[in-house]
């Protein structure tokens, strides 16, 4: 660190590289939003001062977040461990409150209106609180994270806000909570659980891809072969056979009942459709009981793959060098819906091409690796768990968001960290990151 930082309590030990990356990212974000919103007929100074456009709003958000960041860097790091439990509780309460005073924005009733026309999304903030309480829980001396009991408690802490998010119709936000697996894995979650989850995921995908009957037959055949093999080899261990049978029952149940149930009763019609369209199939919405009850009125909408198609066109048309700053026709013609929020990556891809997107990805990768390095240098478990939570959340957002814009993942409403337009999102990521930096500055201290 620089010489001056030694005398300065504020910046002592703070990782300046991450702050620099943070500033670059926010600047790129504002530039991208500017490209989306750009209107040659508007004088920019006027629109800027009047805060009428999204990019000028985003600048105000950024300034506000700057103050928040400074504030976070100034507080005592012990405060975060102290407030971990209570803040989580508050977050859950706020989420519950949305069901009462929530404001409906874009079909999800997950916003609480606050002064000045701004709205707060508690689910966003809850990510921070969940990260804190998870860190707090794992770092407790009495917690033995090799035990299944601890895994289950941690799992409940994570899934509670996730379930509330699903109830708010915020599928994307709910998915983000799976990002905590990184932290848990780092702290000793046995790989078996990951393998089981992965197998389950593969099974679900296979269920979607293949005919259920075919898959059932294949599963039964595989199980049969296993058992036959065991009998042949005289390994007549009852337990082994029972395990195989149990796996078979679970798989079969998944294929036949769980997956259809999830698609028809848990997911909204549009979500099921999106997932099906990813693998090139059509989903019959009349099967969907959830949508059937809630949204009876069918609006004439653009086809479901419209977003992804236009998004791919935008990125693809960028080519190697891009079409140039403010020259993207997809962006200028507003062909990509939600381009300033979830699909912000497309404006970058169109304007700066592969060179731009690759540089951008490299920047993100460097950022994530830097965070992992920070995580690994923590002495206290609390800081490390928190750091891995931050890595997980950032990574999950980046991966899912970019994958959905380039057609590798179904469309879920997940913003691109620090880039997408949105005060809540920017504030959340700023807070997440600067709490980590604050903790990192005190990395010599053992926090509990």
């Amino acid at each position: 660190m620089s010489a001056s930082s030694n005398n300065n309590n504020f910046s002592k030990g703070t990782d300046l590289a991450v702050i620099l990356l943070y500033l670059i990212m926010v600047a790129i974000g504002i530039m991208c939003i500017f490209m989306v919103e750009y209107n040659p007929n508007l004088t920019w100074s006027n629109s800027f001062l009047m805060a009428k456009t999204n990019y000028s709003k985003q600048i105000y958000f950024a300034i506000f977040c700057g103050f928040v960041a400074i504030f976070i860097l100034l507080v005592d790091s012990k405060l975060f461990t102290a407030l971990a439990n209570i803040s989580y509780l508050l977050g859950i309460l706020l989420m519950l409150a949305t069901f009462v005073v929530g404001k409906n924005i874009n079909g999800s009733k997950s916003w609480i209106p606050i002064a000045g026309g701004f709205n707060l999304q508690p689910a966003e903030l809850c990510k921070i609180f969940t990260a804190l309480i998870l860190a707090k829980f794992i770092s407790k001396p009495e917690t033995d994270f090799t035990k299944l009991k601890s895994h289950i408690i941690a799992g409940i802490m994570i899934t509670l806000p996730a379930i509330l998010s699903i109830m708010q119709h915020e599928m994307g936000l709910a998915l983000v909570y799976s990002a905590f697996i990184f932290a848990m894995y780092r702290e000793g979650l046995p790989p078996v659980i990951l393998v089981i989850l992965l197998s389950f995921a593969i099974l679900v995908i296979a269920t979607l891809l293949l005919e259920p009957t075919t898959l059932s037959i294949v599963l039964t055949a595989v199980a049969g072969l296993f058992i036959a093999n065991m009998i042949k080899r005289f390994k007549r261990n009852k337990n082994n056979i029972l395990i195989v049978l149990a796996i078979w029952v679970v798989s079969f149940g998944t294929v036949r009942f769980v997956v259809p149930y999830i698609f028809n009763n848990v997911f909204e019609c549009y979500q099921s459709t999106r997932i099906y369209s990813m693998i090139g199939k059509e989903y019959d919405c009349s099967l969907n009981k959830k949508s059937a009850s809630s949204t009876t009125e069918r609006k004439s909408k653009k086809p479901d793959d419209y977003n992804v198609k236009q998004s791919k066109i935008a990125i693809g048309s960028g080519g190697f060098w891009g079409r140039g700053f403010l020259k993207g026709t997809q962006t200028r013609g507003r062909y990509v819906p939600e381009q300033h929020t979830d699909f912000i990556f497309t404006s970058l891809g169109e304007a700066f091409g592969f060179v731009g997107t690759f540089t951008f990805l490299a920047l993100y990768l460097f950022f994530l690796f830097r965070l992992i390095r920070i995580a690994e240098r923590q002495r206290s478990t609390f800081s490390r768990v928190y750091a891995y939570s931050v890595v997980g959340i950032f990574f999950f957002h980046i991966a899912v968001n970019i994958c959905m814009t380039i057609g590798l993942f179904p469309v879920v409403g997940i913003p691109l960290p620090l880039i997408s337009y949105g005060g809540s999102s920017l504030l959340t990521f700023t807070a997440l990151l600067f709490i980590l930096l604050r903790l990192d500055a005190d990395r010599q201290m053992v926090l509990r």
Binding site: P40, F145, T146, F182, Y185, R186, E187, G188, Q310, K312, I313, A314, I315, G316, S317, G318, G319, F320, K327, T329, Q330, R332, G333, R334, Y335, G349, E350, G353, F354, T357, F358, L361, Y364, L365, L368, F369, I372, A375, E376, T381, R384, Y388, V391, F395, A399, I402, C403, I406, G407, L408
Partner: protein, 709 residues
């Protein structure tokens, strides 16, 4: 505890790395290896508007526009944007039903895809246009587009000018490099086709940026990729609208052709082919109806007989036969032949119309009297020329002359699909007679009087007249004298039309003799009764036997005699004597061109001639069978009675010959009974003959009996 798991940080890094690599791979495939996305983006956002320039205009020699451009409106639609259209109202306005609406929509999609605009209804009438503009807001996706279409202020020269039509798939394949698109128009026939690249001009393209709602946001990249439309250039001809109109009028109710050339330049003054059509009927919304009718018409109104019709030249060939003999030194102008009405040197006797002694005492007389025997003899002399060792060599030399006169080959006029007609090859005779050894000049004797297998187009005959009028050279016949703002490429294009074609070295005094003979034709010969007030002229009549029925009436001429300004060839199919029908038509055309006006007497003649119906009975019968009686002339004439009247006037001195002919025919036992020359045949009989294919065949097979005046 953390110590045990510290390697897991690395695993997490690997997982992150793998996912990032995956993303990068997808980005490479999207951004570097797929070109379709750029196209898709351009399709989305760039709206290309093609600016059609006005086509060039074609002018006649007095700068009157033979064709012009007028504005027409089309109703166009972009299928993707046609949502929420008030179809009921639209269908009411256009007077179509919903089925038709759907059908047209599908057509547009097939032709131009969903996102490009396609024509829903072309050539709106003024009334429709007004109604549609009023209600356009009810039809999202529909718009009215302006288009320039052709109009023909003089309703004339349809065959020459040709027409423009929407390009089809074949056209696009052939002209792939020239930037045509579906829905474009291009010249399909005539001058429109020949000079397409000049008339078309250069299309301009304007590119606009459009947003996701199809709203135009402004020019794309400030218009730096836009190209400006350059108007087509105008063409200047030596045609004369009034002469052209006169020629067409005179050919009404007849099948035939008139070609008038300016011998000094080779420029076409008039070119008419009958039956023709009104060129205005092939533009705008009547086109569909008209083109179908024209294409199915048995008289083939679209066919330009002036450059494609192949006719035996008959006696109109005689001056050329004489020229060959003179040039080869086989005869002198004083050469005479003692003709007594028959040519018998080849066994099979050939008739001559004249029997009085001395009618072929020298070349000039023979030409004026059109003595068949004389020219048969001259032909034989040319073929059996001792200079060339055998008949084959002689024939080849003769053919070479013919080709240099512009016969039996394409002249290279600036119209597409000119026919070269036929001057038979020796190979044809070798095949017919079983080898070169087995034939001599007697075998194709009637070539000497423009029969046998010799055919020529009206254009070639007119050009031959120009060649004689000029005493030995001609300019390639052409329409376009000059192009507006001519550049080097244009000069090259027109170069051939500006070069003198001096192909033979026949001394001018021989031409003088021929000219005198042809002048005598108009003084006391077969065309003696045809006068061009104020001018002396040279002419040759022809009455050509043909396998299709009654003789073709031919007439070739040029005027004035000493300073030729116009050379004309006229053919009226199946009409009879050359002097009867083709002659007066040619005379009137010359008079109109030279005097710029017609005498009162001539005007009555025009009215009279133009109303005479000389359509072959077979064609009339076809019209009646196919319920196309509107094509028939309102007044029924008895052709042959009228013909007789004209015959009397022109051949007053030879009236008694008719009986003689009959007696000659009786003598002529070797020849199968050919159609009698002049005796009045009733319409009924001709009809019978024309409709009876057996009879026709027989006629084709029958050796052509020499009849030529």
């Amino acid at each position: 505890m953390s110590m045990y798991n510290s390697n897991r940080g690395g695993i997490i890094q690997i997982i992150i790395g793998i996912i990032f690599i995956l993303i990068t791979v997808q980005l490479i495939s999207l951004q570097i290896f797929s070109s379709k996305y750029v196209l898709a983006a351009n399709n989305n956002a760039i709206f290309r508007k093609i600016i059609y320039p006005d086509r060039g205009i074609i002018y006649d020699r007095k700068k009157r526009a033979l064709l012009e451009n007028t504005i027409s409106y089309d109703l166009v639609v972009i299928p993707n944007e046609a949502k929420g259209v008030d179809t009921t109202t639209l269908c009411e306005i256009l007077k179509i039903d919903k089925e038709e609406y759907k059908k047209r929509m599908v057509e547009v999609i097939i032709k131009n895809s969903r996102v490009k605009s396609g024509i829903f209804e072309a050539f709106l009438s003024a009334e429709l246009y007004a109604q549609l503009t009023e209600n356009l807001y009810r039809f999202p996706g529909f718009s009215l587009s302006e288009r320039s279409i052709r109009s023909y202020p003089y309703n004339t020269a349809a065959h020459v000018l040709g027409y423009v039509a929407e390009v089809d798939v074949n056209f696009l394949e052939k002209h792939g490099e020239e930037g045509y698109e579906m829905g474009d128009y291009a010249g399909m026939t005539g001058l429109e086709k020949q000079y397409e690249s000049i008339l078309m001009g250069q299309r301009g393209v304007k590119r606009f940026l459009r947003d996701n709602k199809g709203k135009i946001q402004g020019p794309f990249e400030k218009g730096q990729f836009d190209t400006v439309a350059v108007a087509g250039r105008n063409l200047f001809t030596s045609m004369d609208v009034e002469v052209q109109q006169l020629a067409e009028k005179l050919l009404q109710h007849k099948i035939g052709s008139v070609v008038a050339l300016n011998p000094k330049t080779g420029s076409v003054i008039a070119m008419a082919s009958s039956p023709g059509y009104n060129p205005n009927l092939l533009t705008g919304n009547q086109r569909r109806k008209t083109i179908g009718r024209l294409l199915t018409d048995t008289a083939r109104p679209i066919y330009n007989r002036a450059i494609k019709g192949q006719y035996p030249p008959g006696s109109t060939f005689k001056p050329m036969g004489a020229l060959i003999a003179l040039d080869e030194g086989l005869i002198t102008p004083s050469f005479g032949y003692n003709c007594f009405g028959l040519y018998t040197s080849c066994g099979d006797p050939r008739k001559c119309e004249h029997h009085n002694a001395g009618h072929a005492a020298n070349l000039q007389l023979a030409l004026a009297n059109s003595c068949n025997s004389y020219f048969l003899q001259v032909f034989r002399m040319a073929i059996d020329n001792p200079k060339y060792h055998n008949a084959k060599q002689g024939y080849l030399k003769w053919k070479q002359y013919m080709n240099s006169f512009g016969l039996g080959r394409k002249l290279g006029i600036d119209l597409p699909s000119e026919n070269k007609a036929n001057i038979p090859d020796t190979a044809q005779y070798n095949k017919d007679f079983g080898g070169a050894k087995y034939w001599n000049s007697c075998y194709m004797l009637t070539l000497g009087i423009g029969q046998d297998r010799m055919t020529a187009t009206p254009l070639q005959l007119a050009n031959a007249m120009a060649f004689i009028a000029n005493k030995g050279y001609y300019y390639t016949p052409h329409f376009i004298d000059s192009i507006e703002e001519e550049d080097e490429i244009d000069k090259k294009l027109l170069q051939n039309f500006r070069t003198k074609q001096e192909v033979t070295k026949i001394p001018t005094e021989y031409f003088d003799i021929i000219k005198e003979g042809m002048h005598d034709v108009t003084v006391y010969g077969t065309a003696a009764f045809i006068k061009v007030p104020g001018h002396e002229f040279c002419a040759k009549t022809g009455t050509a036997q043909n396998p299709h029925g009654k003789n073709h009436s031919l007439f070739v001429c040029f005027a004035p005699k000493d300073n030729p300004k116009i050379a004309v060839a006229v053919i009226v199919e199946n009409a009879g004597f050359g002097a009867t029908w083709a002659g007066p038509i040619a005379g009137l055309v010359m008079e109109k061109y030279l005097n710029d006006t017609l005498t009162k007497e001539s005007k009555t003649k025009v009215d009279y001639l133009s109303n005479i119906d000389l359509m072959p009975e077979a064609i009339k019968a076809w019209y009646i069978r196919n319920n196309k009686t509107e094509m028939l002339s309102p007044i029924e004439y008895n052709n042959d009675e009228l013909a007789d009247v004209w015959d009397m006037e022109m051949l007053s001195e030879s009236t008694p010959i008719k009986t003689k002919i009959d007696t000659i025919k009786k003598l002529d036992t070797a020849a199968p009974p050919a159609k009698p020359l002049a005796p009045p045949t009733k319409n009924k009989k001709i009809k019978e003959q024309a409709l009876n294919p057996k009879l026709k065949k027989k006629k084709i097979k029958s050796k052509i009996n020499n009849v030529s005046i």
